[in-house]
């Protein structure tokens, strides 16, 4: 159908009046030139999809976290009939809770959402060499620590304000469309506020679905998106005495070592009035409790006298699912697997991918007036991969090189003492762009890195002989 449309457009230029008339009916809107710039001729914008009459495009966003909230807001602002289905409105998600500076600006977050501004970090090596990083931060730069229940609720409220319908319910399954432009039918249980009730079964017809329902996404299962490797992050919230809390006022700590985690790091992050001490692993999940004990031991002197007020664990995807999109269903956020390696950061990427996917739908449907198809949603994937692939790849390389073994971690911490490294790291973290620094400094950095790695490995060889 698409290639026919293309041919008739060309025919339009040189055609006789009869041909002219027939091509007008096929293309009711002139194709702008950039739409023709596609890799394959049979992938074309939804401009050839039928115009929807009498109503706007309906899109369901499953999941009301940062990804769902951002997607719903962008869809609603774009004039699309949006419903957002969230199963637990007051969900206090187990989460590190760190957001980069650019998220505050890009998503217009009010500053009172941020509990704490972290401006210093301490990296601690396996042999307890401690390095302070953050000297290079400018006064207005910080890492924001938020409470997920507050952030998620705020984004959902904004989506509601823009015109989205927020529904408290649990998505159960979806019926795939029988026809090319037939609607999807989603089945969900709507909760009516009664404690313990299973909810009322509701079905609804929608034209497109955004799966923002997190690491155990049901939407992903429905579209056979495939599985990913995931890390288990285990965290204990500990309330420590005020004088010890003073130390963590604006400082977060990262502990690296085989005792703390064989492929990740242990952390102490300050929260609103307590600290979160945790660790994670992909390859040694059964030993997570052992790693947690080791993390607590390494931070022992600094959290002495603290009381554990909550224990939580959650999965963190390690890489995107094999299929992030199927027909008119797209995955965003943790459901798609957009968590970076090395730092395990996911909130910003969830919100941004939700927004990008929604923007692609708004654009492909011309503000809800036309039906979308898979090609429009693939635009979101294309844009996402192009924009953030360098970031993900660099972090993957860093993880592979520096989280490999204790000598590598020692080298990592040594490198962090360097000011150039600190500046590069923070710039890329806070603004989410891989900035090429000066080549001379990069060369010096490369030489120093290799030197550190060689030294640490040499020491390890000697250690093995003892």
């Amino acid at each position: 159908m698409a290639s026919v449309a293309l041919k008739s457009f060309v025919g339009l230029r040189q055609s006789s009046p009869e041909k002219h008339h027939s091509s007008i009916t096929v293309l009711s809107k002139p194709l702008p030139s950039n739409r023709l710039r596609y890799r394959r001729l049979n992938v074309v914008a939804g401009k050839s999809s039928p115009k929807i009459t009498g109503r706007n495009l309906r899109v369901a966003v499953i999941g009301g976290g940062p990804a769902g909230g951002a997607a719903a807001e962008t869809l609603a602002k774009g004039g699309i009939e949006t419903i957002l289905i969230e199963r637990k409105m007051d969900n206090a998600k187990p989460c590190g809770g760190a957001i980069p500076l650019c998220m505050v600006g890009e998503f217009d977050l009010p500053l009172d959402i941020i509990d704490r501004r972290v401006t210093k970090m301490k990296m601690i090596s396996p042999s307890n060499v401690a390095v302070d990083i953050g000297r290079t931060l400018k006064p207005h730069e910080y890492i924001g620590m938020v409470r997920r229940e507050i952030l998620d609720a705020y984004l959902r409220e904004r989506a509601a304000g823009a015109g989205a319908t927020i529904i408290n319910g649990l998505f159960v399954k979806m019926d795939k469309p029988t026809d090319k432009f037939a609607p999807y039918v989603i089945h969900y249980n709507e909760y009516d506020g009664k404690v313990g009730s299973a909810g009322k079964k509701v079905t609804m017809e929608v034209d497109a679905i955004i799966g923002a329902d997190g690491a155990n996404s049901r939407v992903a299962k429905s579209i056979d998106a495939g599985d990913y490797e995931y890390a288990i992050a285990f965290q204990e919230r500990i309330k420590i005495p005020d004088d010890k809390m003073q130390y963590y006022e604006d400082l977060a700590e990262m502990y690296v070592g085989d005792d703390v985690s064989p492929d990740f790091y242990g952390w102490v992050f300050p929260k609103c009035d307590h600290v979160a001490v945790g660790t994670g692993t992909v390859t040694h999940k059964p030993d997570i409790k052992k790693f947690q004990l080791a993390t607590r031991l390494r931070a022992r002197d600094k959290i002495l006298g603290g009381k554990i007020i909550r224990v939580e664990a959650h999965p963190i995807p390690e890489h995107p699912r094999p299929r992030r999109l199927s027909n008119r269903v797209a995955l965003v956020g943790d459901a798609a697997g957009y968590v970076t390696k090395c730092s395990g950061e996911g909130i910003y990427f969830a919100a941004k991918s939700g927004r990008m996917c929604a923007e692609a739908i708004v654009e492909g449907s011309v503000n809800g007036t036309r039906m979308v198809d898979e090609a429009d949603l693939r635009n979101y994937l294309k844009k996402w991969d192009k924009t953030y692939w360098p970031t993900y790849k660099v972090l993957d390389i860093l993880q592979k090189v520096f989280y490999r073994s204790n000598p590598a971690r020692e080298a990592f911490v040594e490198m962090c003492a360097d000011e150039y490294v600190q500046k590069m790291t923070f710039d890329s973290y806070l603004y989410k762009t891989v900035v090429p620094g000066s080549p001379l400094e990069d060369l010096k950095l490369a030489v120093n890195t290799i030197g550190s790695l060689v030294r640490a490995n040499a020491l390890r060889k000697k250690m093995a002989k003892i």
Partner: protein, 239 residues
Amino acid sequence: MSSSMAFFSSTTPHLPSFSSSSKTHFPINPFLSLKTQRHLFVSVRATENGSGAAIALEVKKDSEVAEEGSNGVPVAAAVEELGVKFEDPKWVSGTWDLKQFQKGGATDWDAVIDAEVKRRKWLEDNPESSNNDFPVVFYTSIIPWWAWMKRFHLPEAELLNGRAAMVGFFMAYFVDSLTGVGLVDQMGNFFCKTLLFVAVAGVLFIRKNEDIDTLKKLIDETTFYDKQWQATWQDEKKE
């Protein structure tokens, strides 16, 4: 499931002793007893007595466990008290006191390296808490580059050069005996230069038998992440 049951029956003589020993542990701390066993037995136990609650924590995704047993317990008590810390007369305020490593008027860097190796080995076996009042400020970069060279690079370089020389001599003789081309003429030939390059690279990168597997794994690793990201585009090409 059936394989684990077969495992269970095949190790029946062992299992009763396990279960009797673990029964004493179980009431105290279910997690502790599971940790001390091998992962295999953990899965058998899960199928056997259904006390998979604890394992379910490990395996179940997205679990938010309410505090059990560690509710309100002060952190210090929950962590075993490890009284032993790393102590050494030459380790002063978080770094090696170079004045104590003097030998004949100059610092004995080899002894510093040895001391650091011992310290790291100790810490690997007995991890310590990091303390702000006694920070560790020793960086290996204070040891000068020539000390590292002399100690680590030179012996290895001697070994590798020796290997390269032996391989080179034998290959030169072999090629000469087969083709009659002398050493000087071999150097002018492209094929021989390629062989030389392969020999040098081989000696450099494959130092132990395990290195062949390591290199293969490394090559896979460099492209694995890319493949995972490209997976969603494979769908499009198939359509």
